[in-house]
């Protein structure tokens, strides 16, 4: 139950979408903190660039929307050691007006953004449930709150992925408190998926890795935006309780 958790770091991290952008930065930042990383992506050459000669980073070629290839990727990662960390980072953001979106294209985006996260999580859980220990970090966005135009498939699938985090907590938190699952919003980044004057992915990845290596059951179900925890919505019940008990917890930070 710690930041920079030794038990998490003693195992293997699997990062999806590690061929470029934030995924690459996350893989490198994990390696620089001493972790062995299975860097999963579709393209051998960009994965090789991610590894950049580091013997801590092993490129593993797979498409998260191709569940069989993902199964093989997990098996390759198994050869590196016990899986203790999964970062669900792979996502597509095809900007696409609704009249250009077909049912097929919509479902393909969903298959990557939601299906890929679920599949990787499910495969990671098979392994983590053996030891009862692990960390799953989902790279998330606020896109579901106020969908931008030309973003239906992205907003819906990424929004559903946030619901998935909550559903996983409902299914797992009582049984496996030491499998810690949470969401992280990296913010607008200067990546292919992001905006030109966004934040450098290396900076953002530092926070993501700080959170990924923080193993505390109390983090399950939380969301962080960049370096700061997003306060959980408080219902009437919670607000009464806080007031009665004179309790207000300070927000957790990563920096």
């Amino acid at each position: 139950m710690a930041r920079d958790d030794d038990r998490v770091k003693s195992g293997v991290a699997l990062v999806t979408g590690a061929g470029r952008g934030l995924g690459r930065a996350l893989a490198r930042a994990l390696a620089s903190r001493g972790m062995r990383v299975a860097a999963v992506g579709r393209d051998a050459q960009s994965l090789a660039e991610t590894a950049n000669g580091s013997d801590r980073i092993t490129p593993v070629i797979a498409d998260v929307s191709d569940f069989d290839s993902l199964r093989h990727a997990f098996e390759e990662a198994d050869a590196l050691g016990p899986l203790t960390l999964l970062i669900n980072n792979a996502a597509l953001y095809p900007r696409c007006d609704i009249f250009d979106e077909t049912p097929e294209s919509f479902m393909q985006t969903t298959r990557v953004n939601l299906g890929g996260s679920f599949a990787a999580t499910r495969m990671a859980l098979d392994r983590m449930a053996e030891t009862g220990f692990g960390r799953i970090l989902n790279v998330a966005t606020f896109a579901d709150l106020h969908p931008l135009p030309a973003s239906a498939a992205y907003s819906v699938s990424k929004g559903a992925a946030r619901i998935l985090t909550r559903a996983l907590v409902a299914d797992l938190a009582d049984r496996f408190p030491d499998i810690v699952i949470s969401d992280w919003m990296p913010g607008m980044l200067a990546t292919r998926m992001g905006i030109p004057d966004g934040l450098a992915p290396d900076q953002s990845a530092k926070w993501g890795v700080e959170l990924a290596l923080w193993h505390d059951p109390a983090l399950s179900g939380t969301s962080f935006e960049q370096a700061i925890e997003i306060p959980p919505p408080r219902g009437l019940k919670g607000r009464i309780k806080d007031r009665l008990l004179g309790r207000r917890r300070p927000l957790r930070r990563l920096d």
Binding site: A129, G132, R175, F176
Partner: protein
């Protein structure tokens, strides 16, 4: 699932894997018998830390966690209530969630004497015969604690307890100063490195000794046993004299399983339901029910909870102290008193406290009444550093208190229980005695109405020498079915003034011993 398991003819099939099933199956497997455990619920993952939570109400989610999937419909004194009882249905049964307090009964719990008359005239097994099996169970379950200073009988195979916390030391001194005789509660926890106590939740290590870690797992390790989980036995089949097969359901498939001997270990609620559901031409009243007593004689204990403020600042809950000063008072059977081991904010206790808070002014905060966690949180604040204790009050067997036959293949468990006047009177005496014993201490009763302990069902397949007044014989075999045995909490003819599990384990070892001494064909 392999056909090798389902098509083989077994020496013994054990139905249910709680304390009773696990313990008896282990002893049989270790003696070389080929044993199949059939368990309704899942084996689950060994690393789970699942607490038994009434808040989970989706049946599939309950099953996945090893909880009994359906509600209990309890008619108590004619008033009907439905709720999720603290009842396990998975590998280890209820015991994976239990608090592992394994306390020995007193001689008068079993024996009749002039000085302490027994309500049933005594068990079919005397204390002298039974005690060696309690000793064995204590060894098997690695029980630690200190002997009860008031006891006049020896207590072997008791490992030293871990050191008391400062708060508990302080409390022990206070209780001694009151003239009481506290001791280190007997606990089946091995205290391996990293031990979390695991009271109320599944232990991720083989540290808490329960029906799984001290029963099924060592049985499987012998190579003589196999486990069929997620498999409910739906009917016992037979010719009126013997059980010839079991009908079971697994993943939608109907199986027939066979064995020389069948051991009922589905728990005090599960086993009689199965016997009653098996009524047919050859067993017109249900299996093993010539006496008509299957399901009857249901007992639970009454929980009498109270808080003590011993002073000091150590608020950590612990389940370390017990005392038997009030076990027998004014010629009456009462029961032992023990630390609950839960913080005032936790599940079981919050459930009771909710009522308390709702009845007080606090319940009138707008929107607060009925919001479950708030009263618990307030209660926790109010109680602060209080230590919560429970007195286990023995309830006596009555034929009209019973578990009813299941309706169709519903998992809902229906029970009928009347709190008899003599029990109310003993409860008043118990409360008076608790108040008197703690005179001068700051304390508060947490129970208002009589509270049945639904986690301690027993007595529904009682053993006894008279086939008209008992379902099982003294060795655990059914009076009227040659190869059927009972080895769960159903056997108790009386509920005793202590927690049930050590007694269940002792009787389960006796049952295994009797089967082991039998010829292979159950003659």
């Amino acid at each position: 699932m392999s056909r090798e398991i389902t098509q083989r003819h077994w020496d013994v099939i054990v139905i249910g894997t709680g304390i009773g099933g696990g313990t008896t199956g282990r002893a049989l497997a270790e003696a070389g018998r080929k044993v199949l455990f059939v368990e309704k619920g899942p084996a689950g993952h060994r690393s789970e830390q699942t607490p038994l939570s009434p808040g989970i109400f989706v049946p599939e989610a309950r099953s996945a966690r090893g909880f009994w999937p359906a509600e209990v419909r309890a008619r108590v004194d004619g008033r009907e209530a439905r709720f999720f009882a603290p009842l396990g249905a998975g590998l280890g049964g209820s015991s994976v969630f239990y608090a592992a307090t394994l306390e020995r009964p007193e001689p008068h719990d079993l024996d009749h004497s002039e000085a302490r008359p027994h309500p049933t005239g005594g068990w079919p097994v005397s204390w002298t015969e039974f005690a060696p099996w309690l000793d064995r169970a204590q060894a098997l379950y690695r029980v630690c604690g200190t002997p009860d200073p008031l006891s006049e009988t020896p207590c072997p195979n008791l490992a030293p307890p871990p050191p008391l916390s400062r708060g508990d030391q302080h409390l022990t001194e206070r209780l001694r100063a009151q003239g009481l005789h506290p001791y280190a509660l007997h606990s089946a926890i091995a205290h391996l490195p990293g031990c979390k106590g695991c009271l109320g939740f599944k232990c991720p290590h083989a540290c808490k000794m329960d029906g799984r870690s001290a029963g099924v797992e060592p049985a499987l390790a012998t190579g003589n046993a196999a486990l069929l989980d997620r498999c409910a036995v739906t009917r016992l089949l037979g010719d009126g004299q013997r059980i010839t097969g079991l009908e079971a359901r697994r993943a939608g498939e109907v199986l027939t399983l066979t064995a020389d001997h069948v051991v009922l270990a589905g728990g005090a609620l599960g086993s009689p339901r199965l016997c009653l559901a098996s009524a047919c031409e050859t067993f017109p009243q249900g299996v093993a029910n010539t006496s008509g007593l299957v399901g009857r004689g249901l007992m639970f204990h009454l929980n009498e909870m109270f808080a003590i403020w011993p002073g000091g600042t150590d608020p950590s809950p612990s389940k370390a102290i017990g005392l038997r000063d009030l076990y027998w008072r004014e010629g009456q059977r009462l029961g032992m008193v023990q630390a609950m081991g839960v913080a005032a904010s936790y599940g079981e206790i919050a459930w009771y406290l909710r009522g308390l808070v709702e009845n007080s002014g606090l319940g009138r905060i707008p929107g607060a009444a009925g919001l479950s966690r708030i009263p618990a949180a307030i209660a926790a604040k109010l109680l602060g550093t209080a230590k919560i204790f429970v007195g286990l009050l023995e309830d006596l067997p009555y034929d009209d208190n019973r578990v009813l036959p299941p309706e169709g293949d519903s998992d809902e468990i229906a029970i009928d229980y009347r709190i008899h006047d003599e029990l109310r009177a003993r409860r008043r005496l118990f409360r008076r005695e608790i108040a008197r014993a703690l005179r001068g201490q700051r304390k508060m009763f947490l129970t208002r109405r009589p509270e049945l302990n639904f986690g301690h069902p027993s007595g529904t397949m009682r053993f006894g020498d008279d086939p008209a007044r008992a379902v099982l014989r003294g060795d655990g075999r059914a009076h009227d079915v040659a190869n059927l045995w009972g080895a769960d909490a159903g056997f108790f003819p009386t509920s005793m003034g202590v927690n049930p599990s050590l007694g269940i384990a002792a009787q389960a070892l006796r049952v295994a011993d009797a089967i082991n001494r039998e010829g292979r064909d159950g003659a």
